[in-house]
Symmetry: D5
Subunit: 96 residues, 10 copies
Amino acid sequence: MLFHVRMNVSLPAGMPADQAAQLKKAEKELAQRLQQEGKWRHLWRIAGQYANISIFDVGSVDELHTLLTSLPLFPYMQIDVMPLCRHPSSIRDNDS
Amino acid sequence: MLFHVRMNVSLPAGMPADQAAQLKKAEKELAQRLQQEGKWRHLWRIAGQYANISIFDVGSVDELHTLLTSLPLFPYMQIDVMPLCRHPSSIRDNDS
Amino acid sequence: MLFHVRMNVSLPAGMPADQAAQLKKAEKELAQRLQQEGKWRHLWRIAGQYANISIFDVGSVDELHTLLTSLPLFPYMQIDVMPLCRHPSSIRDNDS
Amino acid sequence: MLFHVRMNVSLPAGMPADQAAQLKKAEKELAQRLQQEGKWRHLWRIAGQYANISIFDVGSVDELHTLLTSLPLFPYMQIDVMPLCRHPSSIRDNDS
Amino acid sequence: MLFHVRMNVSLPAGMPADQAAQLKKAEKELAQRLQQEGKWRHLWRIAGQYANISIFDVGSVDELHTLLTSLPLFPYMQIDVMPLCRHPSSIRDNDS
Amino acid sequence: MLFHVRMNVSLPAGMPADQAAQLKKAEKELAQRLQQEGKWRHLWRIAGQYANISIFDVGSVDELHTLLTSLPLFPYMQIDVMPLCRHPSSIRDNDS
Amino acid sequence: MLFHVRMNVSLPAGMPADQAAQLKKAEKELAQRLQQEGKWRHLWRIAGQYANISIFDVGSVDELHTLLTSLPLFPYMQIDVMPLCRHPSSIRDNDS
Amino acid sequence: MLFHVRMNVSLPAGMPADQAAQLKKAEKELAQRLQQEGKWRHLWRIAGQYANISIFDVGSVDELHTLLTSLPLFPYMQIDVMPLCRHPSSIRDNDS
Amino acid sequence: MLFHVRMNVSLPAGMPADQAAQLKKAEKELAQRLQQEGKWRHLWRIAGQYANISIFDVGSVDELHTLLTSLPLFPYMQIDVMPLCRHPSSIRDNDS
Amino acid sequence: MLFHVRMNVSLPAGMPADQAAQLKKAEKELAQRLQQEGKWRHLWRIAGQYANISIFDVGSVDELHTLLTSLPLFPYMQIDVMPLCRHPSSIRDNDS
C-alpha cells in the first residue's frame, strides 16, 4: 500500500553542529536502507525548502507509523500522511 | 525535471452524463499516452477524493503548462504545482 | 486497518426532494450493510452539522476508496481520510 | 455523551529526558485507567504524528473538561473538542 | 450543559421573497419558544453579519442536535458548536 | 453594549510556578470584581482549552480596551473581540 | 465610537445590469448621506478589488448594525467589523 | 497616496522592562512627529490587541517602506500593507 | 512605482464560448497596449493555473486601480495587490 | 526557466549584531553576483516587510534549489517557489 508523506524539517536554532550532522547522517543511512528494502519508494526534495515528498510502500498503517517514528529526525519534523490508491488511468500495475 | 502536481476535479452539477463520460474517456486516453511517453511519470488517486497526485517529468515549465492545459478536464480542475529536485539521500539516480 | 474519515454532505439546492430522499435511503442501506460486515466500524453525527465522523476497518487503501466511492452520496460529499494506528496506551487489542 | 477529541502533543525542546519519560508514564497510567472506567472509549494514534484521536464518553461537558485538564501532558497539548451524537444510520445503540 | 453555537445564514439568491419571509417567521417563532423554555439561553446578532452567537442549555448533545436540525433555516446555515463549561473565576453558579 | 471576547492564554514555558500562581490569583480577583460590577457579564471556559468565551457589557470601546489591557494575564493572551447587538428574535430586552 | 469595517461586494453573475445600476446608485446616495451626517467617517476603495475599507463613527453597536444592514448592497456583501479605540500615540483627539 | 497598514506588536518575553519602555517612548515620539508632518494620517488601536490600524499618506511606496522600517518597534512587528485609493462614493476630496 | 499583482481568472461555467473568446481577445489587446506603454511591466503565467503574476509600474495607486478595473476580465478575476519597493541588494536602478 | 520566489527572513532574536551584519553582507554579495550572472533576474522588497519577491532564471529545478540553499540567510528564511511560464499576452519574448 502506498502513502504520500510530506516531511518538513525544523532543527532548533541552538542545536550544536555536531549533533545536527550526526542526526542527518543517521537519517540518511536509514532512509537509504528503507529505500533498498523497497519500503521508501520515492524521496524527492521540495525546491527551496528543507522538506521532502516521499512515497512509502508498506503492508499496514502500523508499519508506516513505526518506520516514520524510527527516523532520527522524527522529533524535528512535521509529517503529513495521505493514503494513495491505484488510479484507474494509471498504466503501471506495479505503481500502486 | 520533476514536478509534483495535485489535481482536484470538480464537474459542474448540471453537466450531462454523456458529456462527463466523454471528457473522462478523453482524459484517460491522453493521461495514458503521456504516461507511455514518460512525461507523466506517476499517477495516484488520493483515497476518498476525486483528486490525484501526479509526478510529471518534463523539459521545461512551459512544456508542463502546455501538457496540463491540454487535459480535457483542465477547465474543471484546480491544479497546484510544486517543483521537485533530487534528494541527497535518494538512492535512485533516475528518480530525479 | 483503521481509517478516520470525515464526510461533509452538501446536496445541491435545486435537487428534487424525491431524488434526495432516494439517495439518503440508499446511503443508509449501504451504510448499515457495511457496518454489519464490520467494514464501517463507527458512524457518528457531528452535532449541528450535516456531517459525520466514521471509522473504517478495511484490508487496504484500495478497499477503502472503493467503499467510499460506492456511497450514493459520494458525489455530494467532501471526504477527508486520516490513517490511524494502535496507540501504545490503548487497552484494547481489537480497537486497532 | 460522546466527544471527539484530538490531542496534539508538543514537548518543549529543552525538557529533560527523565521528566518527559515520567510525564508519559503518568499519562499512560491515567489514560488506561480512564479507558477501563469506560470514560475514554477509544484512543488511536494518528499515523506519522505525535497526536491522537480519542472518543470520550462522559456525563457532562464539565466532566470532560476535568478529565482533559487532569492529564499530565495537558500543559503540552493542543486539544480540540467536537461533540458527537447518534447517527440515524448507525446500527449500534451502544455507540452513541 | 452549555454549548456555544455560531450560526451563519446564507439564503440562496433565487429564493422567492415569500418563502424567505415564511422561513424567517417560522424560525423566529421556534427561536422564541426555545428561549422561553430555557433551552436557547442567549441569542445575539453579530454586528454587520447575517449571523448569530447563541448559548444553548440542554441535557445532552443529542438534544442539542435535535434542536438545531429542527430550525427552519437549518438547511441554509453553517453551524459551529463549541462545548462550554463553568469557569473557575465565574461568580454565577447558574451561568454554567 | 455587548462584546463577545475570546481569550486564549499561553504562559511561557519557563515562568516560575509562583509567578504564574500570583498572576492567576490577581486575574481571578479582577475578573470577579468586574463581574460583580456587571461589566463582565458572562465568563465560560472552552472545554479542553486554557481559553474562555466572555461577554462584556461596557459603555464604549475605549472602556472595553481599558478593561482588557488591565487584566494581569493580558500580556500572555491572544484576544479576539466581536461586537454584538440585539437579535430581533431575542425575547430578553436586558440581554443586549 | 469608531469601527473599522471591510466590505467585499459580490453581485450575482446573473443580475440584470439595470438592477445592478439601481442598487449602486441607491448605495452611493445613502453612503454620501451617512458621510455628510458624520456617521460614515472614511470610505476608501481597496486597490484592485470591489471592496472598501470604512471607518464608522456611531453611538452604539446597534446603530452600526442598523446602518450596515440598511445598505442596498448589504445582501451582496461580506462585512467584517473590528472595534477601534484611541491610540495613546495619536495626536488627534477628534480621531477616536 | 494612502496606504492601509496593520501593525501587530510582539515584544520578546525576555526583553528587559527598561529596553521595552525606551523602545515605546522612541516609537511614540516618531509616530507623533510623522503625524504632525501629515505622513501618518490616522492611528487607531484595535480593541483588545497590542496592534494598530494606520493610514499613511506618502509620495511613494519607497517612502512608505522607509518610514515603516525606521520605526523603533519595526523588528518586533508584523506589518501588512494594503494600497487604498479614492472611493467613487466618497464625499471628501482630501481623503484620498 | 511597482506593484505586484496576482490575478486569478474564473469564467462562469455557463458563459457562451463566443463571449469568452471576445473577452479574452479584448483583454489581450489591452494587456499588450499597457505593456507597450510601460505600465504593465511584466506578465507571467503561473504554471498549471488560469492565473498570472504581473508587475505594474504606475504613477499612483489610483492609476493602478483604474487600469485594473478597466480590464475586460476584471469582473471575473480575484486580484491581490502588493506594493513593492527597491531592494537594497538589487543591482538594477531601473527595476524599481 | 523562470521561477517566482518569495523569501521571508526571520533572524533569531538572540543573534549577535555582528553575526547578523556579516550574514547580510555575505547575502548581499551573493545576491548581486547572481544578478550579474543573470540567474537572479529581479529582486524587489515587499513594502513594510523583511521579505522579498524574486524572479530566478535557471536551467533546472536542481539549479534553483542549489542557488537558494547556498544563500547565507537560507537557514533563516521561509521560501515559497512557484514555476512561471510565458504568458500568451506577453509582448516580450525574453521575459519568459
